[in-house]
Each structure stands twice: as C-alpha cells, then as structure tokens.
Amino acid sequence: MPENIIERFEVKELKILDEKGNADTAILPNLSDNDLKKIFELFILSRQFDQRALQLHAEGRLGTYASILGQEASQIGSAYALEKTDWVFPSFREMGVYITLGYPIWMLFQYWTGDERGMKTPDDLSIFPVSVPVGTHMIHAVGAAFAAKIKGHKTASVAYFGDGGSSKGDFHESLNIAGVYKLPVVFICQNNQWAISLPREKQTAAKTIAQKAYSYGFEGIQVDGNDVFAVYKATKDALEKARAGKGPTLIECFTYRMADHTTADDASRYRSKEDVEKWKDKDPLLRLKLYMEKKGIWKEQYENDVKKKVIEFVDGEIKKEEAAGLPDKKDIISFTYKELSQRQIKELKLWQE
C-alpha cells in the first residue's frame, strides 16, 4: 500500500501597507478619509494614554501597567472592525482595544490604579474585564459565541491573546471546541515575539501560530500586525465569516512588544537594543502617517492639532479619575455574591462597630 497524502494546508500572510506608506490598492479595505482620520486619532490617543500610564506609574500614582507600545495597529485595526454588538474578551495588554471601542479613558486609569470599578464595563459596550491568567479567557469567547449561536443572534465573539497564550492547554481546548461547533468566534493572537523573557521561537516549534488553526479544522492567517489595514481587513473578513455561520478564524498579528513586559520588568536583561531598534522602522503609526500624507490627509499642523486636543483630553480624564475618589471598602464584600452570606453580614457589622 502506498503512502498517501491525506491533508495539506497553506498559511497565508497578509500585508497591505508597507513601511514607506505604500498600500496595495487591490486589497486595500474600504476606509473613508474620515475613517483614516479616526484611526489616526485613535493611535495618538492610545499612545498618549500609554505614555501617561507609564508616567503615572513612575510617579507612584498607578500600579503595575502593561504597555501596548508597538502593538497599536493590531489592537486598533482589529477593534475598528468590530460591531457594537460583538463580544470582546481581552487579556491584559489590550488598552488600544478598549480605547477604540470607546471605553471611558478615566475608568482605564482607575483600573490600573488598582480599583475594580474601572472594569465595570458601561452598559452599551460588551467588552470583558482584563483577564490576568494567560490564555484562560479564550474559552469564554467560545462560550459566548456558543450562546449567541443558540440564541440565534448575529453576534461574533473575539478573544485577544498573545504568543505566550498559544502554548496553553486553554488555547487548544478553545480552538478545538470552536472548530467542532463552527462557532462565530475570532481568535486574535498578537504575536509580539516575547512572553516576558521567552522569545517566540521558544514558545513553539511551529513556523507560525496561524497554522495551528488548521489542526482544529478552520483557517488561520498571519497578518502584518504593524499594518493597520491588514489587521482591519483580516478581522473584518473573519467577523463576516463568523456572522454568516461559517465558523471561527485564527488571526496571528505579527508585531513587536516595544516596551518592557510591564512596569515591573526590565527587558534589557534578556533582549538586545539592536533587536528593538530594528522594529522602530516598522512602527505602525509611522507608515499610516506616510500613507495619509501621500493621500493629502496628513499635515504636520493636523497632527499637532490632534496631539494638543488628545493631551488635554487625557489630562482631563486623569483629573476625572482623581475626582472619583476611593472605592467604598464594603465593595470588597458586596460583589462576591448577589446576596450577602451570613458570614459577610457579620463581617460588615464588625466594620460598623
């Protein structure tokens, strides 16, 4: 009996906008000048938020924070493709996603100061609170997609995670169940090349993370994660496919973590400056700006105006956060269950004495 090949797969890579700001017009997604400006402004806003969070941390006014620097195109591009009705399950390095979806900035600051109130998602959004244990929340997107399918809603779910998360058993269980039930879910992996100190090549022996999708019976695609158009297009296509009942997609956004893992980390212990330097030319904002300049939408004055507005806005949000004051210590207890337990009633009484 001869050996037969019973399965083959190919992994696509999607790039639309290069480092010089040249776009492949044949596959360029349909974004108006107004959309481009909005996306540009979200970049500026995300960067300003990120920078201020790091400053506030340095001043001791904000806790441990995970910077998104370098990953803005992956986050803004994907979130910009979402509908209000879609459910979003982020990990902890997704502030660009929250910001793009219109999450109140002051609440994000509030969360990072160590205040759970900041993760009380406003009623008109369906984004989930930050999930700390790596990869374990992906399955919640699967469950929400399952529920949407059962209820007959045209809703898709999105899970954000990283190259580190792809090593977890949860990744396997999530993609496997999503594949079996053909669920309307999009898995967005921001492969930022580093899981704290572990480089991507030690995370998996596979050439890409995208190809793992094929073991679960659906497509995976690698996109240039610093190309906002490629990320937007891949996400938009995957969401349309999900809503049409054609099942899940894994999108690997190939990007780079420009900052330390968190404010508690020092990346110089495990990676070289040259390595980081190489990625500076690939900056996702720079190429967007060059593209917009060629189209005549970007001018220095425009950027200055946007920056000025954003700086003022973010400062205002920080003030708003400060004005919100400290949480009530009773909150520790009150949100454990809907009803207080006999023990909790006693504990609250002790505080009153």
Partner: protein, 319 residues
C-alpha cells in the same frame, strides 16, 4: 406523586427547568446521546435537541465554555463526569467563575451550575470516588451544594439553576439509586444556604451532608441526637448550627473526606469560636483517612463506618 430515586429526581429537575426556561442548556461529556454515564440526562437531548450538547473531552473547556455562555445570558448546567476530573477545571472555577461578578463590579455575572457525581460507593477505577468538597469551598464567589435525598436533590438543583451565581452541585454517587422517596411533580425549591434539622434531639448535634448523613441516621438509635443535614457547604448556615450546638453542647461532624483541612475542620473551628462556652465535650471530627482514596477492594475501610459513628456518640456522651 411518584416514588423515585435521586437520578430520576435530578433528571426531573433538569427537565422541568428546561421546559420552563429556554435559557437553560446542558453541556458535558456524553450528556446527550448517551444520557450521561449515570443516565442523569436521559431523554433530555430527545426532548431539547437544541439545548443539550455533547462536548469534546475537555473538562476545563466545558467549564470555560459554560462561563462564556453564562455571562452571555444563558443558564448552563455543565456536567463533569466525576469529581476527580474537576481538578482540571479549578482554574476556570477559581480564576474566573467565582470572581466575574466582583471583577466587573456586578456588570457581568455567572449563573452557572456545575454538576458532578462525588464520593465513595460504586467501586469504580481510581479518581472516580473523590470527596474534595472542602477544596471547592475555599473560594469565595462559588456556592457548593450537596443533596442527600431525591426530594432535596430536586429542590436544591432547581434553586441552583435559578441562582444568579455559580453553584457546584455535588451528587453523592452512593445515593443515586439507594433511596426512593415521594418527589412532587410540582415546581418547588429548597433554599441554598440553609441547613435542615432532619431529626431533633437534646444531647448531641451531629452534622453531616450527602451520603454520610445516612450513615449517621443509621447509627443514632439509642441516642438523643439532633442531626443536621448541612445541604449547602458554601455559604453554610451558621445560625442553624449555632442554635443546635447551644442546645446540645456536644458536637460530632461526620465527613467522608480526608481529615486535613476538610470541611469538618472549618465547622469545628467555627463552633469553637462561637460556642466554646456551651460545649460539654470536645468536638469530634469523624473523617476519612489521611491517605488517598483507595480503589475498590479497600474502599470500605476509608470513610467512617457505622461502628465508628456509634463509638463517637458514646465517647462524646461519656466525656
């Protein structure tokens, strides 16, 4: 009203709640076509083909999926085939289900039920007889319920499904087909968080749950014992325990599980803190051995026997 066993009572509760509320869905391994390895969900896939799902073999994935369903607005009832396999789900239960309400300050909730058979009594392979309920009780945000009869299994499960928070529903395998009793077809509930005094007495308070309750009830003849069926382990009914202990002044807590950090330890500490001066004798804990649960041949030596219960009753009276 029919006389039915616990398997039938649980099936009835699921059937009635699924009939009443189209948001109730069942997921788990073999819960659909096979009706579950203990036939708990028999006939439910036929009756509710769009709401019963045979999942891939992935315990953590089952709970995680159920969490996603619950936050979205369904009321999933997930089955973990045996308690020994719930260890794979601890991260989903402890890091997520238990704290979604708190983490989102009430914006998202997790009305999820996890059913799992537990305890000794059926002489199965390893890890099919676990009773590590105390482990699950340690995490705030989760409720843990153990029925002891067909009647209270139905009422407690209906409460668990309607509960706005995650409930782990531990089904003593020994009791599945041991007892038959009258179980009403009507829609009734037994409140979570309330214990029941199943027999009143003056001299000794005996606290038990699940299958140990029956061993206790078989052993108390000749003693004026007050027997409490705890039913909910988290959050447990402090008031009912204290009222009884203050009356009797003697306490025996009987559990099948191993001693170290078992749920009896929590109860003894609580009673010692709150009712020390009412006690006429030291609290006695009757527990399983400080060893892993043995397989079939040695199974009967593990948990407290009827003789041990009687010995403890005598000891506490003679103190």
């Amino acid at each position: 009203m029919a006389r039915i066993n616990m398997v039938q009572a649980i099936n009835l509760a699921l059937r009635q709640e699924m009939d009443k509320d189209k948001d109730v869905v069942l997921i788990g391994e073999d819960v659909g076509r096979d009706g579950g390895v203990f036939r708990i969900s028999e006939g439910l896939m036929e009756k509710f083909p769009d709401r019963v799902f045979d999942t891939p073999l992935a315990e953590s994935g089952i709970i995680g999926t159920a969490i996603g369903m619950a936050v979205y607005g369904l009321k999933p009832v997930a089955e973990i085939q045996f308690m020994g396999f719930i260890y794979a789900c601890i991260e989903q239960l402890f890091s997520h289900a238990s704290r979604i309400r708190s983490r989102s300050r009430g914006r998202y909730t997790c009305p999820l039920v996890v059913r799992t058979p537990y305890g000794l009594g059926i002489k199965p392979p390893e890890l099919h007889s676990e009773s590590t309920e105390a482990l699950l009780c340690h995490m705030p945000g989760i409720k843990v319920v153990v029925p002891s009869s067909p009647y209270n299994a139905k009422g407690l499960l209906i409460s668990a499904i309607r509960d706005p928070d995650p409930v782990i529903f531990l089904e003593p395998t020994r009791l599945y087909r041991l007892i038959k009793e009258e179980v009403p077809e009507t829609d009734y509930t037994i409140p979570i968080g309330k214990a029941k005094v199943v027999q009143e007495g003056k001299d000794i308070t005996v606290i038990a749950w699940g299958s140990m309750l029956h061993k206790v009830l078989e052993s108390i003849e000749g003693f004026d014992a007050e027997v409490i069926d705890l039913m909910t382990l988290r959050p447990y009914d402090e008031d009912t325990i204290l009222n009884s202990v203050k009356k009797t002044g003697r306490v025996i807590i009987a559990q099948e599980a191993t001693r170290n950090c078992g749920f009896a330890a929590e109860l003894s500490a609580f009673i010692a803190e709150e009712a020390m001066l009412h006690l006429k004798a030291p609290i006695i804990r009757l527990t399983g051995l400080d060893a892993v649960i043995p397989m079939a041949r040695l199974e009967d030596y593990y948990a407290p026997s009827k003789e041990k219960v009687i010995k403890a009753l005598k000891k506490v009276m003679e103190y």
